[in-house]
């Protein structure tokens, strides 16, 4: 049990690539910290520095009371679960799990006790004599977990441990790993590129991009108050709609103009985001999560000035809900570096081009109730929950919150 502290930790490779720059992060004792970000954001490098598999270029890394920059992996008292599981193919499941204990010259009885205990926790009892190649993906993953937990280390490091499992098993193992970590109470750093994993598993989530830490917060805060467009777009599925809008004032209250349409803002919005006042008359980027949109007839209490009108382009019925893609005339999708990178990460081939449908406006995605009456090609009226709108500076991509612009976490 120990805390893990990154203090301005950087990693620069010999060819000058900065994989991680000035990472400062405190992982509390017993905390489940998830590092998340698109590929190449430095999250795995950060983890490997904790493991001692990468040298630390500058800064200090502490595990417990000890600065471990120059401590070899084997003396760091950590255990790691690899994406590939990295099981020893010539050893049985029992010997795989016992490997780290045998290295430590632990007594036979103690090894046996711990291995059997771990096997019981993970449901591996009947597989102890098997070789890894005779196991399924999920069982291999459990063996890798078992190898980590018998060591009773100061911290667990997990490098995308679930990404090689199929979707169903991944959901199951996600819950198992979370429960296991909670039961053991061992400090855990978990790397993933999957925001759902990050949100469901982490006590806190650290979002990284291009080697920099953007935001560390508990999942709800991350969802409610993303520090910038990138975090806003990365967290949540389907991704947040991001369109250009203008802040205006009517009858003393603030509102945003989306194309020719008008969205009235609540008093609460202004009081929780006093900085928004300074943007009056300027163009900002408005973030609307698909789940804050609803077909108007299913939300009759929403006043007319909190509705958007558009044309339905595509309707995807999921049974429990309806994903509706619709265009709003006269609007433009935000197209900043952040948005492009997010689109690239999502695998969109045309990241350079905004998702304009027919040149008439931005394409938005709404997550409507299953009973919503929408038809493709027909107009739709969409109620907007204006209490949960997100506002970002059009130039810096920073979220607009407090009156004083925050310095911390700015990506320059």
């Amino acid at each position: 049990m120990a805390e893990v502290v990154f203090d301005e930790v950087s990693k620069v490779y010999a060819d000058g690539t900065r994989a991680v720059s000035g990472l400062s992060l405190d992982v509390g004792d017993g905390e489940f910290m998830v590092l998340v970000g698109p590929s190449g954001c430095g999250k795995t490098t950060a983890l490997r520095m904790v493991a001692g598999l990468e040298e630390i270029s500058s800064g200090a890394l502490r595990i417990g009371e000890r600065v471990v920059n120059h401590v070899p992996s084997r003396d760091r008292d950590i255990a790691m679960v690899f994406q590939s599981y990295a099981l020893y193919p010539h050893l049985s499941v029992y010997d795989n799990i016992a490997f780290g204990l045998k290295v430590k010259k632990m007594s036979k009885q103690e090894i046996d006790r711990r291995v059997r205990n771990a096997a019981e926790i993970l449901g591996l009892e009947q597989f102890l004599k098997r070789k890894p190649r005779a196991l399924s993906g999920g069982q291999r993953q459990r063996v890798a977990m078992g190898r980590a937990i018998v060591r009773e280390p100061a911290a667990f490091l997990m490098d995308e441990p679930l990404s090689n499992l199929d979707a169903k098993l991944r959901v199951q193992m996600r819950a198992e790993v979370s429960r296991l970590q909670r039961d053991l109470g061992t400090t855990t750093i978990y790397v993933t590129h999957d925001q759902v994993e990050a949100m469901t598993m982490g006590d806190r989530v650290a979002v990284m991009r291009k080697g920099e830490l953007l935001q560390v917060a508990d999942p709800q805060t991350l969802y409610d108050r993303p520090v910038n467009l990138f975090v806003g777009g990365f967290i949540g599925s389907p991704a947040m709609n991001m369109i250009e809008a203008t802040v205006t004032r009517t009858n003393g209250a603030l509102a945003v103009d989306v194309g020719k349409q008008h969205l009235e803002l609540d008093e609460g919005t202004l009081s929780s985001r006093p900085a928004l006042r300074a943007y009056e008359g300027r163009t900002i980027i408005l973030g609307i999560r698909p789940e804050e949109l609803e077909e108007a007839s299913l939300a009759p209490e929403t006043p007319p000035d909190r509705r958007l009108r558009g044309v339905v382009e595509l309707r995807e019925a999921l049974g429990s809900e309806l994903m509706v893609h619709f265009t709003v005339e006269g609007t433009r999708e935000a197209l900043t570096e952040d948005v492009k990178e997010l689109a690239q990460d999502a695998g969109a081939p045309t990241a350079e081009r905004p998702r304009e449908s027919n040149g008439s406006g931005a394409l938005l995605v709404g997550r409507f109730g299953a009973r919503a009456s929408v038809e493709e090609g027909k107009p739709v009226e969409v109620a907007v929950d204006t209490r949960s709108l997100h506002f970002f500076d059009a130039e810096t991509s920073e979220g607009i919150y407090d009156a004083e612009p925050k310095e911390k976490g700015a990506s320059a």
Binding site: F82, Y85, L87, F99, R147
Partner: protein
């Protein structure tokens, strides 16, 4: 949809008729016959040698080999029993064993250690040094015979079994290091990193992971090196050591007609490497790494 499914069924049905299977088998048969013929052709000298070795010396020259099938057969193992009471031969066999086993051990141990270092340890000049090792692969050993002969005499180990062992080891190592390094590099890096995090030091990793995982490659190196040095003539001849190859060669020179000694001795010399090959063959298993990652 239904029509398409029927079509597919018919199509696959046609492919698996008995006639089609016979045709497929026939298509492969010429190749198999050819391979079998080549195999038999290669076996002819060995069979001839064996038959010669079990015929009495008097019959070899005067009668045909088919006499061993006559009644009563002329076949006899007296040649062999005489040979095993010949101190010259047993001594030569022992020398051969010392040389081939000794140098194979050195090559395997040093080669595996060096291969691991070249594959997985960071040290300055590693890649240049490895290029140097690869370069040594092309040095012909004949070039070193005379200089080494003089060096051995200066050191006072000229004419000893040890001198031949060392010579073979030196010339076997570049290939062994090259082969083992390339095999070890293919061992998933995650496994070694995982072991390091689990607390293992380099020696432990070498003994508990690299050696068992590298067994197929190590076995190949050992077999190659053993066969090569078992059959060596020129090196031992130069350093005046008498393993079985040199001993047989000496028989040939002294009594040109001593076929009753040469044939069985040659056969013994041949059968041992063959046995070794078949004994170690099971280590050439594929897929030892299966199930480790992903």
């Amino acid at each position: 949809m239904a029509a398409a499914a029927t079509e597919t069924a018919q199509f696959s049905g046609q492919r698996d008729t008995t006639a089609a299977r016979i045709l497929r088998a026939l298509a492969k048969t010429p190749l198999q016959i050819l391979l079998a013929a080549i195999g038999l052709l290669w076996l002819v000298p060995t069979i001839g040698l064996f038959i010669t070795s079990i015929l009495p010396q008097s019959s070899v020259t005067s009668l045909g080999w088919w006499k061993i099938f006559a009644h009563p057969s002329l076949a006899t193992f007296s040649n062999y029993s005489h040979l095993f009471h010949n101190a010259g031969l047993t001594g030569a066999l022992k020398t051969t064993a010392y040389i081939s086993v000794g140098n194979t051990l050195i090559v395997v141990i040093v080669g595996a250690l060096a291969g691991y270092a070249f594959a997985w340890l960071e040290f300055p000049g590693r890649d240049w040094l490895f290029i140097g090792v690869v370069g040594l692969l092309v040095v012909p050993l004949q070039m070193a015979l005379i200089p080494m002969f003089r060096l051995y005499n200066t050191l006072g180990i000229g004419g000893t079994t040890l001198s031949v062992v060392l010579f073979h080891a030196a010339f076997g190592l570049p290939f062994a290091i090259f082969l083992l390094r390339n095999f070890f590099v293919g061992i998933p890096k995650d496994i070694l990193e995982s072991a390091r995090i689990d607390g293992a030091n380099e020696l432990w990793i070498f003994l508990r992971l690299i050696l068992p995982l590298g067994l197929p490659a190590i076995a190949s190196v050992a077999i190659f090196q053993f066969l090569w040095t078992w059959n060596d003539l020129i090196v031992s001849l130069t350093f005046s050591v008498t393993p079985i190859t040199v001993w047989i060669f000496d028989q040939l020179r002294q009594f040109s007609s001593s076929i009753d000694v040469i044939a069985p001795a040659s056969f013994i010399s041949l059968i041992v490497p063959l046995a070794v090959f078949f004994a170690f063959q099971r280590y050439f298993v594929q897929g030892l790494l299966a199930g480790s990652v992903k």
